[in-house]
């Protein structure tokens, strides 16, 4: 700064400074004041290279911060809007909920056809995660499903209420974070799958942390790949620890009962649904 002021003070010194100042010397400007500010930019080439490197590193730092903001905030905003739209469409297009507690049924549950990849076919409601918690379940576990549509259904695994393993994957941070509170699930907690015509109630049995390659957790009989299933179970998978992909957090549950929506709703949802959400629609 002091040098700059000195140059600005005398026109002769100013011209002298411009000679050999590289980029500035070749570019005569309209007024002397501008030149006076630029004159002290003369530097040795090595110094300039370090300066450029420093600026690029600072830029890289800003980009990394932007990435974190994108990951933790923007993907939530974007996917949250998509998921809320899907949920409201499904809820509004279906019949109005019957505000009575339906009698649980345990005979063979209504079958849902396996939809094409990327199609939303059910909703997940989990009272432990709040009365307002509802997330769409769509076919497939590719980025197109998990990053936008919410929960993904592992292809080839059982459909809701059917014998075998209903295996679902969901993000734990970003992208609407459907499984954000997965560690809060305790044995006995209800996991309710809602299809256009029926409710399917599962109960959590056990949670575990496994390696990313532990595909046996989504086998038809969890932990025993190849075994022939005789009961209907559910498995949720997400990343662990949160903000990392080092391991997977896995929650298992067993199918308890189902109800037709025309008959009412599951007792586990009744307090929340009648009181808070659905009765307004």
């Amino acid at each position: 700064m002091a040098t700059g002021l000195a140059f600005a003070a005398g026109p002769v010194t100013h011209e002298a400074a411009l000679v050999g100042a590289g980029e500035v010397a070749g570019r005569p400007g309209p007024d002397g004041a501008r030149h006076a500010g630029e004159a002290p930019r003369r530097r040795r080439p090595g110094f300039a290279a370090v300066g450029v490197l420093g600026e690029l590193l600072m830029t890289a730092g800003v980009v990394v911060v932007l990435f974190v903001v994108w990951q933790l905030w923007w993907t939530d905003v974007e996917a949250g809007a998509v998921q809320a739209g899907i949920v409201s469409t499904l809820v509004e297009s279906g019949p109005s909920p019957v505000a009575v507690v339906a009698e649980p049924r345990t005979e063979a549950a209504p079958r849902i056809e396996v939809p094409p990849e990327g199609t939303t076919f059910a909703l997940l409601r989990v009272p432990r995660w709040g009365d307002g918690y509802v997330m769409p379940i769509s076919e497939g576990v590719g980025a197109a499903v998990l990053d936008r549509l919410g929960i993904g259904h592992y292809p080839e695994t059982a459909m809701p209420g059917q014998v075998g393993n209903l295996a679902l994957a969901g993000h734990r941070q970003g992208h609407g974070r459907p499984f954000y509170s997965i560690e809060a699930l305790a044995p006995g907690d209800a996991l309710v799958v809602e299809s256009p015509g029926a409710w399917y109630v599962y109960r959590v049995t056990v949670s575990e942390v496994v390696s990313p390659g532990a595909v046996e957790v989504i086998a038809a009989v969890p932990g025993r790949p190849g075994a022939v299933p005789t009961t209907a179970v559910i498995t949720l998978t997400t990343c662990h620890p949160v903000f990392s992909s080092r391991e997977r957090y896995v929650v298992h549950g067993v199918f308890e009962s189902w109800m037709l929506k025309a008959d009412g709703m599951p007792g586990v949802l009744a307090p929340g649904i009648i009181g808070a959400n659905e009765s307004e629609r």
Partner: protein
Amino acid sequence: MIVYGWLWRHLPGPTALRALLLTLLAVGVVAVCFLWVFPVVAPHLPFEQITVEEAP
């Protein structure tokens, strides 16, 4: 500031216009990152894999 100084000197107009242009440029860069760059890069980073799958 060499790189950004160069940018500043090559923007046209008075200071207020340059500041506006620089802001628009920054918003544009952030938008490109958010909408196209980060979604492409993210699947290759070890932050958001949530499925169990066979090791490749």
